[in-house]
Structures are given as structure tokens and as C-alpha cells.
């Protein structure tokens, strides 16, 4: 396991300066290379704080965080973490750097020291898959809220990082844009990229390999999305709400119309009901 372990948290706690209590506490977590993991939990449960340890934006106040087996406390570790992990933040304003869309997307690839042709190719690919193809020359201040969020995503994927962390980065996308982005993420995942999705919308975790639930800064649960959907009162306790389709699925299972082994997916449910 260790050789393909991209991120390893060992007893990590983090307390913000002047804060009374830790925002995350006693986190032990391994993320394998190529895994797609979802981080769930209420507002303030510590999701963003945990995420910021992955690229050494925060260093544990207790315990250690390793990226590619480098401790993020050391200079090597910080460098390794920043190269391996790209973050898309909750608020795109916090990470848009340049004044013009395409320049902003080029910023990451330029920092990687790629050739001008490669930079151009990456920028145009990233803008395209993010649905900003026609806006390359637009100034950033003239973008709508959702367009800014798309730009933040484009900037991160243009770096083709080994690991991409999306911290509630789809909140402002229209439904079609959200679907398109899920496709893009799936493709990147198939290509071997490690993905960490932080979201309140559980329909977005259907394709994840594994999810963890944070509550009060601690990991309360760890398992597959399907296992999560089968839980009872715990879900409400953690402030999680399953998607509408999953609710229908659960009711049909309870009424004895569907077997629990049929997954809560539209195609499978229709097929089972017609049998």
C-alpha cells in the first residue's frame, strides 16, 4: 500500500491561531494514488481545513502529513505537496491571479516550466473542457459568478496535477455545466488522476471510490457511496441528505418492490421494476 500511497495523514490536528478548539483532530487517513475520494460533512466540520493540508497550505499543529512520503513540514515536503496537488477553492476570487482569462489559465503551466507550445495546448484544452472556449480574451472582472468558478477549475486542471482537490467548486455551475464537469472529472480519473471532491450534493459522489464523513473535525465514517446511502439515522446526524432518486430507491426497497442489491441508478431501477 505504501508505494502507491499519495497522501498520508498520521494523527493530524490543526488549531487556527487564537482558536479555542482544533478545527480538525486526530485525523488518520490514506489516499491511494488514482483514488477518487469524497469528503463530506456539515458546515464547519473541517473539510476545507483538512483539504488545505494536502498541498501544504496548512501544516499540522500536531501529527504529520505526508505527500508522496515527504513530510509537509520540510521544504522538500512542501515542494512535493505543491507540485502534486492542485486545489480549487470554494471562492474562485481567492485564486484568480491574472487579469485576462487565458493568462490566468497559463499561469500554472508556465510555473511548471513547460514549452510555449505545450502551454498553449494546455490552456486551450483546459478552457475548452471548462466551457470557457469563447472567453479566452475576456478580462476576469467581466465574468459572471459561474464563469469565475469555471475559470478556477480550468486553471487547476491545466497543470494536469497528479491530484486535484475540488473544495465545493461546483456550487455555482448550472445543471448542464455540472454534468459536463462530472464527465471531465471521470475522464481525468480514468487517466489516473487522484481526485478529492468536497461537496454537499451527494449526487456528485456516485462515481467516487470512497467517501469519508467529518463531524466536529474528526472522521466519523469511511466507506463506499453505496454503503453510505444505506445508512439510517447517522445520515441526518451528520447533516447529509441523499439525492431524490436515492430516496425513491429506499422507499421502493422498504415497500419490497426492489431488492436492496439493485443500485440506486435510473437504468438499473427501471430494468428491475419491469421484470
Amino acid at each position: 500500500m505504501t508505494e502507491n500511497c499519495l497522501v498520508r495523514f498520521s494523527g493530524v490536528s490543526y488549531t487556527y491561531p487564537e482558536a479555542a478548539a482544533p478545527a480538525i483532530a486526530d485525523i488518520d487517513l490514506k489516499i491511494a494514488s488514482g483514488e477518487w475520494i469524497a469528503v463530506l460533512g456539515c458546515n464547519g466540520s473541517g473539510k476545507s481545513t483538512l483539504a488545505k493540508h494536502l498541498n501544504a497550505l496548512l501544516i499540522p499543529t500536531q501529527g504529520d502529513c505526508f505527500v508522496n512520503e515527504f513530510n509537509t513540514r520540510g521544504e522538500d515536503g512542501k515542494r512535493s505537496a505543491r507540485r502534486a496537488v492542485s486545489m480549487v477553492f470554494q471562492n474562485p476570487e481567492n485564486q484568480i491571479i491574472a487579469a485576462v482569462v487565458e493568462e490566468d489559465v497559463a499561469f500554472g503551466p508556465e510555473n511548471l516550466g513547460l514549452s510555449p507550445e505545450e502551454i498553449r495546448a494546455r490552456v486551450s484544452w483546459a478552457l475548452d473542457v471548462s466551457g470557457l472556449g469563447k472567453m479566452a480574451r475576456k478580462p476576469v472582472y467581466a465574468l459572471s459568478g459561474g464563469q469565475k468558478q469555471r475559470l478556477a477549475v480550468a486553471g487547476a486542471i491545466a497543470q494536469k496535477p497528479p491530484c486535484l482537490v475540488m473544495d465545493e467548486a461546483t456550487t455555482m455551475l448550472d445543471p448542464r455545466g455540472r454534468q459536463d464537469l462530472m464527465e471531465v472529472l471521470s475522464t481525468l480519473h480514468s487517466g489516473g488522476m487522484t481526485l478529492v471532491s468536497i461537496t454537499h450534493r451527494l449526487e456528485e459522489i456516485l462515481r467516487c471510490d470512497r467517501c469519508i464523513v467529518l463531524s466536529g473535525g474528526r472522521i466519523s465514517w469511511n466507506g463506499t457511496p453505496r454503503e453510505l446511502f444505506l445508512l439510517g439515522e447517522e445520515l441526518a446526524m451528520w447533516g447529509l441528505e441523499v439525492p431524490g432518486m436515492v430516496k425513491v430507491w429506499r422507499e421502493l426497497v422498504q415497500k419490497g418492490l426492489l431488492e436492496a442489491k439493485i443500485p440506486p441508478l435510473m437504468g438499473e431501477m427501471v430494468e428491475a421494476l419491469c421484470r
Binding site: 470554494q90 465574468l143 459568478g145 469555471r150 465545493e168 456550487t171 455551475l173 445543471p175 415497500k255 427501471v270
Partner: protein, 280 residues
Amino acid sequence: MSIDVKGLVHVYHPGTPLETKALDGVSFKAEKGSWVAVVGHTGSGKSTLAQHLNGLLLPTEGSVSVDGIEVRQGEGSLRKVRQKVGLVFQYPEQQLFEETVFKEVSFGPRNWGIPADTLKDRVEEALGLVGIGSDLYEANPFRLSGGQKRRVAIASVLSSGPDYLVLDEPTAGLDSPGRRQLLDLLSNLKALGRGIIHITHDMELALGLADMILVLDEGRSSLWGRPDIILGELIERDVRGLVIPDMVRFAGRLRDLGFEVPLTWEPPVLAEAIYRSQGR
């Protein structure tokens, strides 16, 4: 009593290479005591529209009026309109500026001259309504988690007690209890006679809660009607950026296969209908 938008056009940076017509002849009416949902693709003009409703932007053409007061420069129109219409921005960071949560939420009522002895109650009530406890009153709003910031931004508009609330994607970033709490709160405010104008990408929410839905497409009001009518239109034709809710698609497929189920977006209703239909 209503907000009346007629033939509203908004052009950003007119006469420059950046000229953008963000709104192109939008008309609709948001009455007191009703809930209007505004939906549409990324960049369709929703936030631009929102900023017209309380006079942060002024029409390039057309008009906006609030309870008969036209939104324009002069004669104190903007001050009156801003007291009537509260706007919660798309990103809380666009709105927050004070050093503490308490000061942030006091700003509005203080600005409108609410006497000091009732100010504290108002602020505490507003923060209570969004689930922010007294432990965070002295916190710096910029150091809160994303969802906590969103709650404070909403409270800072509620505390002024506006007649109309314009909320630009207010559920984004809220956890599920927070989202329910907010929606219940908005329903209560509506029942108390306030007008709710709710910008959202969540079609199920719009269909389930709104009295009227406005669909924007490239700055034009492409659809305006009751939720059932809008749903019918969505099923009939492709609307840029929007998708038919999963559950409605599911119900549609079952209908095609002979199940007698309604096109609903309510899980228990659909489950029950499938059960009955299957039983026959």
C-alpha cells in the same frame, strides 16, 4: 405591492470593445407575499438582474419599480428602494466587510436608524434565524467556514427587515440542515407577506417552492410561468444550461413503459405511485 420589471436592458461598458448586453428586454413582476425563482445558464444575466432590483445597477433601457417607486437617480429613490429590497450576493465575500459578525449584522439596521435599544434584539434574532450562535458573534467574518459566511451574509440582510428579499444562489455552500432551515425561513417570510426573489440552479427547488419561475437565456426572459407550465416546457424543448430533474426523467421513462405515475419531483409521491401502479 410589487416589483415591476419592464423591458429591462443592461449593457456593461457601452461603447468599448468589452460592450456586453447582459440583459435584453426582461419583463416580469414579483409580488409581495409570493416567491419568484429565477433560473438560467451560467452568464444568462441573473446576478445582473438581481442588482437592478435594489438599484445597485441602473437600467440602460426599460424600467424597474418597487411599490410604484421607479429605481433611478434623484429624489431619494435609491435610498427608499434599498430599504425595501435586500440583496444577498452570490458570494458572501462580496458583501461582508465588518470586523466582527455582530457588527456585520448590525450595519443595516443601524444605517436605517433603528434605535439602539432594539438593535441588539434584531441582530440576535437574525443570527438565530440562520443558526449562528452567540459563540461566533465576536468572530471575524472572513475567518469563518464557507457555509458560516453564507449564513452571516443572509442574516445581515434579514436584520434590516426588508419587504423584498433577493437572494442570489443562497443555498450554495450550505449543508443540508442549513439549506432546509433557510428554505423554511423563506417560506415563513413569504407567509408573512414578504416577497422572495430566489436565484437558483436547483430546478427541483424552483419547481417545488416557487409561485412563478423566470427562465433567463442570454439575457432574455425566455420563459415566465407557473412551475407546472415551466416543467412542461422543459420536457418539450431544450433550454440552454438546464436539465430536467432526474426524478422527472425517471418518472417519464416509467410512463413510457406503461406505469401510471405523475411527472413529479417529490420522492415519496413518486415511490407511492410506482407502488400502486405496480400493484395492479
